[in-house]
């Protein structure tokens, strides 16, 4: 439902307003995150860099989109990722062999069709439940109280016998972890 609001197709090549850029990013780029993380993991030796690499790719894609909307999100995102990795490799003078080797294979992956939107909608609730179940117990309890039972921060603090600051801390942890589960799939 909410999707129809944003689904007015933006004209490729035109600069976008800030809300348009956001909507485009959420609609077209974030669903690629799981695939992108897999790509980065496969092609980058130091796994502790993944998070920062992902951010840098997002920043480049986002800034480019503000100036000019790419024709298709997927090739654009992965080309950006590839260029970033190549630049990193050059700068750090460390050459992970498989990174270079795999770059050509990437083009094939790009042509694969994206996930069907209807399937996404149908699986959404199951996916959300799955993400929820993977949260640490206390954190999950706070998120359940907020999202399912609709309690306020204050009410949650009283119900669980913890301070409001602790409620907030659990909520922020939960927000981060849920985003990782929902977009990135298996990320730590």
């Amino acid at each position: 439902m909410a999707d129809t609001e944003n689904s007015r197709e933006n004209v490729a090549g035109k600069p976008m307003t800030a809300p348009e850029t956001r909507a485009w990013f959420v609609r077209e780029v974030l669903p690629l995150e799981a695939m992108l993380v897999r790509y980065l993991r496969h092609n980058w030796r130091d796994k502790s860099d993944i998070e920062d690499l992902l951010q840098d790719i997002y920043v480049r894609v986002y800034e480019a989109a503000k100036k000019q909307l790419p024709d298709a999100a997927k090739p654009f995102v992965f080309t950006t990722a590839r260029n970033l990795l190549i630049n990193r490799v050059r700068r750090e003078h460390v050459i992970p062999i498989e990174a270079v080797a795999d770059l050509d294979a990437l083009d094939i992956a790009i042509d694969a069709p994206g996930p069907d939107r209807n399937v996404i909608a149908r699986d959404e609730l199951r996916k959300l439940q799955g993400a929820l179940e993977r949260l640490p117990p206390r954190c999950r309890e706070v998120v359940v109280k907020r999202r399912i039972e609709g309690l306020s921060r204050h009410e949650i603090a009283i119900a669980m016998g913890i301070t409001e600051d602790t409620v907030s801390a659990h909520l922020t942890d939960g927000m981060c972890a849920l985003a990782d589960f929902l977009y990135g799939g298996e990320r730590p």
Binding site: M1, E51, Q55, D56, L128, R147, S168, M175, C176, A179
Partner: protein, 327 residues
């Protein structure tokens, strides 16, 4: 442009945590105009901030859907003749109209907008929070038009259409007044909601007290206390007392939710239709009288149709802009 970013002070993880803290703070009741300005400033500092925030915000918004995991209440199969509002018998006041009722509620009001007045509105499905300089917060529900005149000697708002929730910073010397056509609500240190329907005005007090003037119905203003819900039409006014739980469900829209309990399908459809362009139409009277108990997001028209189909065994036809429900 990209080189400046290389010397960033925060790691991606730290930025993500920061973005989550902003998002969490924003949901608190004391979120202010000043906080909003600080957030905007933080977002403007770097694209990394903005991207992290947009990503978390969209993921968190998706989790709103989890609300459907609230169990459907047993009354979804309750007997069809139980209506939505009947449960709360009006006890306090029922006054016949003493004078001819002049104002036609729900009619478009034409007005001169004075230079000091400010006009606020939300589209169908929209929701917005206004923070007034005096510390008062006003939350506008879907399809709402509100005018505000805030000067040194008066605080008046006109609810021309829709529904709003008020958290008033009390000031005995400058009472806060909400005008709804001819009706007037005056705060005495309060949180309350006002909804302007096509035929009536509803006022619900969640904290403190207000006075409610319904000229043409009662000669004296009614004093409403915490938990009171008053409904005034052109001919009558009734006041009922509701539990905190019932009230907070009634104000579920402040969190983007609608809660139905013993609600007829006709009433439930009408309520959802306030929030959506795709309209639910309950065709036959038999289906219209079935009752439902469930929680929906205000945008969940399709889910509602599915529940009608699967849980109530009704026939659902999707016609694009309209969804028909029949027996």
């Amino acid at each position: 442009m990209s080189e400046a970013r290389e010397t960033r002070p925060m790691s991606a993880k730290e930025i993500k945590t920061r973005a989550a803290q902003w998002l969490e703070r924003q949901e608190r009741s004391d979120w202010s105009e000043k906080d909003r300005a600080e957030l905007d400033e933080w977002l403007a500092q770097s694209t990394a901030h903005e991207v992290a925030y947009v990503r978390l915000e969209s993921a968190w918004a998706r989790t709103e859907r989890l609300v459907v995991l609230r169990p459907l209440l047993p009354e979804q199969i309750a007997s069809p003749e139980r209506g939505g509002r009947k449960r709360f018998s009006p006890v306090l006041i029922r006054v016949a109209a003493a004078f001819a009722f002049v104002a036609v509620l729900g009619a478009t009001s034409y007005f001169m907008l004075q230079p000091r007045d400010r006009l606020y509105s939300t589209p169908v499905g929209g929701r917005e929070t206004l923070s007034i300089a005096d510390g008062t917060r006003i939350e506008l529900n879907t399809n709402t038009v509100l005018r505000a005149r805030m000067t040194t000697d008066q605080r008046i708002v006109w609810l021309d259409r829709g529904e709003a929730f008020f958290q008033v910073k009390h000031d005995a010397t400058h009472p806060f007044i909400v005008m709804i056509g001819e009706h007037r609500v005056t705060d005495i240190g309060t949180q309350f909601s006002v909804r302007r329907g096509s035929k009536d005005v509803q006022v619900a007090v969640t904290q403190g007290r207000v006075t409610f003037d319904a000229p043409g119905v009662a000669s004296q203003a009614a004093l409403l206390k915490q938990g009171d819900v008053a409904i005034a039409s052109a001919q009558s006014m009734s006041v009922t007392r509701k539990s905190t739980q019932a009230l907070s469900e009634e104000l579920g829209w402040r969190r983007g939710l609608i809660v139905f309990r013993h609600t007829t399908l006709a009433d439930a459809a009408a309520e959802l239709n306030r929030y959506n362009r795709v309209k639910l139409i309950v065709i036959d009277p038999v289906a219209a009288k079935r009752t439902i108990g469930a929680t929906f997001r205000t945008s969940d028209v399709e889910l509602f149709a599915r529940v009608a189909e699967v849980a109530l065994g009704l026939h659902v036809t999707d016609r694009g802009n309209e969804i028909e429900i029949s027996h």
